[in-house]
């Protein structure tokens, strides 16, 4: 990825951006997110199959200094996240430069968000057979089996909120679970509290999830909570023809309605 380093150096030395969010070699054979702010640091940038963190999460964290131009190394899920965030008016295009990386590891210098949108729509956007198989496995369960399955999984949760922290779409400054007037979600990580949290999380991400699986990857207990949001994405695509991360302008399916909606209750 010498080209990536080269590009990073250029961007930083002619001050087109001040920070590059990318990946570097981590410890014990891991890759990890990195923040590069000078051309000589750019040599630490890497990109390979271990670089799976969804870096879009850093674009809404308000950790990066204001009025700074940021370049972000964007794998396909990161591109989709950026489009969703932009469609939800969370990103200022003037401050973000997206350096895309294609599936065959080529660098794509996007001109603007619309450029990313175009690129995304040229790709195969269907769910992979592996994803479909995971969902089918759950769908094949009887209601009781499913209840049992999720009870087992949720009971293990200790509410570290790594799923929330790692998700680019979880950008609320006050999460429902931290809200206490009233206390919508009970705080302790007992069965009820865990169910309340995970159901709320899934519902708040319903159809907004772009399917990067970062939530379950971040989960130290390996809870397969990505299945919930994935399933909801599939349902919303089926019901409303809406998929997150594909359009800058199409309004989110669950916060809009059309006068010619096929359901009568809404009219």
């Amino acid at each position: 990825m010498d080209k990536l380093k080269q590009l990073a150096k250029e961007l930083l030395s002619n001050n087109q951006v001040q920070i590059i969010v990318g990946y570097e070699e981590g410890t014990v054979g891991k890759a990890r997110p990195a923040f590069i702010s000078s051309p000589d640091q750019a040599d630490t940038l890497i990109y390979d199959e271990r670089c799976i963190h969804n870096l879009a999460v850093y674009l809404t964290q308000h950790k990066l200094p204001g009025n700074t131009k940021i370049a972000v190394i964007a794998s396909f899920p990161v591109m989709k996240s950026i489009i969703t965030l932009a469609s939800e008016k969370q990103l200022d295009e003037n401050f973000i430069k997206v350096i895309g990386i294609s599936k065959d590891n080529n660098i794509i210098e996007f001109k603007d968000f619309a450029d990313i949108e175009r690129y995304i729509n040229q790709q195969d956007l269907s769910f992979t057979p592996e994803e479909q198989a995971l969902i089918d496995k759950i769908d094949a369960m009887s209601m009781e089996e499913r209840w049992e399955y999720w009870q087992n999984e949720f009971s293990r949760c200790f509410k570290c909120y790594a799923c929330r922290s790692a998700c680019p779409m979880c950008y609320c400054t006050l999460c429902i679970t931290d809200f206490n007037q009233p206390q919508w979600v009970s705080v302790p990580s007992h069965k009820l509290g865990n169910f309340e949290w995970h159901i709320n999380r899934a519902m708040h991400l319903a159809g907004r999830c772009i399917g990067c699986d970062e939530c379950s990857r971040a989960c130290p207990l390996d809870l397969p909570i990505n299945l919930l949001t994935k399933k909801l994405s599939m349902d919303i695509q089926k019901q409303f023809g809406y998929s997150a991360g594909q359009s800058l302008t199409e309004p989110y399916a669950l916060s809009t309605y059309k006068p010619d909606d096929k359901e009568t209750f809404i009219r």
Binding site: T27, F158, P220
Partner: protein, 343 residues
């Protein structure tokens, strides 16, 4: 090392020992293999799934003495009358924690120091009193382990009531460390044999990465150091590190239920969360992730040794393994010692 105090516990005797423990009303937690991973789980019998060569579990057994959700009491209340029902402390479980590595066994020390600091936490202390710790020397380690840097060794028996070391034959060299350990031994004397062997040769060698006291000194005057921000840039502010940590004690108190009936609960919390220190006024003394990362490190390596005479890190490496973005604690501690405190 003296070997005459060792007993021999043959692998074949383990089922009988576990049966005895269960029969005497003990709940046994042991490291159980589950696919690629090994996690602590409750067992009633010995089985071959119990793994005595695991490196480290994701979760520690902190929850057996400091549960993630501890009900403090139930209350009943109407307008003018309220009553509080404490739990029956005598019914707390008698736990045998089997096969913890020395880092985990030593972790009960800082927990104890915190929950005893001027005010005794009856819940923790009762649970601790009813707990027997059976330590297990480490035959393996990985690059996240750094117990030797925090003055613990893969064979240290500090914190264990009984200490096991596995030998080549797959049997255990047994040290009886405390009275509680003696009780277990006395209960099943016939299962233990005599031995003179040296445990050192069965123990893995964990390289020392830094000097603990030097680190502690180095942290003096580090409050405004630039490295807190640099290190925490990638931190996403979750509580994974705190919740897998065997010594983290931050907690929240919460009421659950209605005004007339419910309970007060003590549950895990984390100093890494943004709202942890948030005032009702909206002011937050630890507003940024770098301030919270600083708190995490200084609490463990500076405040705790200063205030309660014990360090808050056992070198188990769990936080580093669990971190979604590779905030490796030993790497960062080494950097702290190398980097300047002033810009």
């Amino acid at each position: 090392m003296a070997t005459e105090n060792y007993k021999l516990l043959k692998k074949e005797s383990l089922p009988a020992l576990f049966d005895k423990l269960t029969a005497s009303g003990k709940t046994i937690y042991a490291p159980v293999k589950n696919g690629e991973k090994t996690e602590f789980d409750v067992v009633t019998k010995y089985s071959n799934d119990i793994n005595d060569e695991y490196i480290q579990t994701v979760q520690s057994l902190k929850g057996t003495v400091f549960p993630k959700v501890e009900k403090l009491f139930d209350y009943k209340s109407d307008k003018t009358d309220t009553s509080i029902q404490e739990p029956d402390f005598s019914k707390f479980p008698q736990n045998v924690l089997w096969g913890l590595h020395p880092c985990d066994a030593a972790a009960f020390r800082p927990l104890d120091a915190t929950f005893r600091w001027d005010y005794d936490d009856k819940y923790f202390l009762t649970r601790m009193k009813l707990t027997t710790v059976v330590g297990l020397s480490c035959s393996k380690h990985d690059d996240y382990c750094f117990c030797t840097s925090v003055d613990i060794s893969p064979a240290s028996s500090d914190g264990s009531d009984i200490m096991l070391t596995k030998n080549k034959a797959g049997d255990y060299l047994v040290e009886i460390v405390t009275e509680k350990g003696q009780e277990v031994y006395d209960m099943a004397k016939e299962l233990f044999g005599e031995i003179s062997d040296d445990k050192e040769s069965y123990i893995t060698d964990v390289p020392k990465k830094f000097d603990l006291n030097e680190l502690n000194k180095n942290l003096d005057g580090s409050f405004e150091a630039p490295y807190w921000l640099a290190q925490s840039m990638r931190c996403i502010g979750c509580g994974a590190c705190a919740y897998v940590c065997p010594t983290c004690t931050c907690f929240d108190l919460q009421d659950e239920g209605a005004a007339n009936k419910g309970s007060r609960i003590k549950c895990w919390d984390s100093c890494g969360f943004g709202h942890f220190t948030l005032h009702t006024s909206g002011h937050n003394p630890r507003e940024t992730q770098s301030q919270r990362w600083r708190q995490r490190i200084l609490h463990k390596f500076s405040y705790m040794p200063d205030r309660i005479k014990v360090f808050g890190c056992m070198g188990c490496g769990r936080c580093s393994r669990a971190c979604p973005v590779d905030m490796n604690i030993s790497e960062n501690l080494i950097k702290i010692m190398e980097e300047p405190k002033n810009e």
